[in-house]
Symmetry: C2
Subunit: 164 residues, 2 copies
C-alpha cells in the first residue's frame, strides 16, 4: 500500500461529492464527534440540525473539524480533514441572504433531513421546533489517499480485502 497527500484540488473534489461526514467540536478541551450531513461550497460548508449538545458547544467555541472519508478497503481509501469556524445563520435580516443560499445548497438532501427533524421534534417536546442552519468557514483542508502497490494490484489482494 502506498499513501500520498491529496492536492488542495483533490480535497475539494472529495468534499464536493460528499454529503456525509463527522463533525468535531470541543468544550474545555473535551472533544465531541457526531455524524452530520452537509453541503460543501468553495470555502464553506452548510448544515442544519436542531438545538442540542453540539450546537451549545459550537456557540461557546466556534472552532470545529470536519472529517470525510471514502473507504473501499484497507488498501484503497481517501480521507479529508477540514478545520474551520462555526457560524450560526439565524432567521434575521442580517443573515437572510446566506441562510437562503444554505437552503439552496442543501437542496434535495433537505427531504430526509426534514423527515428526521419532524421525527425528532415529535419524540422530544423540549426541542426547539425551529430548524437551525449554520455554516462552517474553512480555514484549512488536508487529505490522504491510500492505494495498492504494484504487488497488491497484481495479486488481487486489494480486491479481496473488504473493510467489513
Amino acid at each position: 500500500m502506498l499513501i500520498r497527500n491529496l492536492t488542495p484540488q483533490e480535497c475539494q473534489q472529495v468534499m464536493a461529492r460528499s454529503v456525509f461526514g463527522r463533525l468535531g467540536c470541543a468544550r474545555d478541551n473535551q472533544p465531541y464527534v457526531v455524524p452530520i450531513y452537509f453541503a460543501y461550497e468553495a470555502d464553506r460548508l452548510y448544515g442544519f440540525t436542531t438545538v442540542g449538545r453540539k450546537i451549545e458547544w459550537m456557540r461557546a467555541n466556534p472552532k470545529v473539524c470536519v472529517e470525510v472519508d471514502e473507504v473501499l478497503n484497507h488498501f484503497q481509501w481517501m480521507s479529508v480533514i477540514v478545520t474551520g469556524r462555526y457560524q450560526e445563520l439565524p432567521n434575521t435580516r442580517e443573515h437572510r441572504s446566506e441562510r437562503q443560499h444554505a437552503l439552496t445548497a442543501l437542496g434535495n438532501h433537505m427531504l430526509w433531513w426534514q423527515t428526521a427533524l419532524a421525527a425528532q421534534q415529535a419524540s422530544t417536546s423540549h426541542e426547539s421546533p425551529e430548524p437551525l442552519f449554520y455554516s462552517i468557514h474553512v480555514d484549512s483542508m488536508t487529505g490522504l489517499r491510500a492505494f495498492p502497490d504494484a504487488v497488491e494490484s497484481k495479486t488481487g489482494l486489494a480486491d479481496q480485502t473488504r473493510l467489513t
Copy 2:
C-alpha cells in the same frame, strides 16, 4: 423515521462488532478528527499508529471522543459516541502486560495495519520506526438508532433511499 436511544448493551454490541471509527482529540479547544481502526473490549479500546499530530495532541490532552456509525440509508442508521481518556502503552515493563493484551485484541487487523505502517515508514523517513500502541479508557457511551416508521416501511421508501 423514528429515532430512539440505544441501551448501554446495544452500544456495547455496536462497538464490539466495529473495527473502524473516528477519533476526536483537541488542543487549545481546537478539535481534530481522524479515522482509526480499533479493537473494543468492555471498558476500553485499543489502537495503534505512528507518531503524528493526533498522538502529540493526545499526549498533551488525553480527553478523547470516538464515534462509530452504521449507516444503511437516511432512514436506517445507528451511531455510538464514546468519550474517554487516552493512555499510551510504551514498550516498558510497567505496560508489558496490557501492551501484549492490546496486540492480541487487535489480532487479525494487524496485518493491514502493519502494511500501512511499513508503507508510511518507507515514505517518511522522519517517522519513528516503532509502532505506537494505546488504549482509550471509556468514560461514557451513548447511541442513537433510526428506523423507518410504518408508512416508510410499507411504501418501500426506506429501501429505495440509499445514502450515496
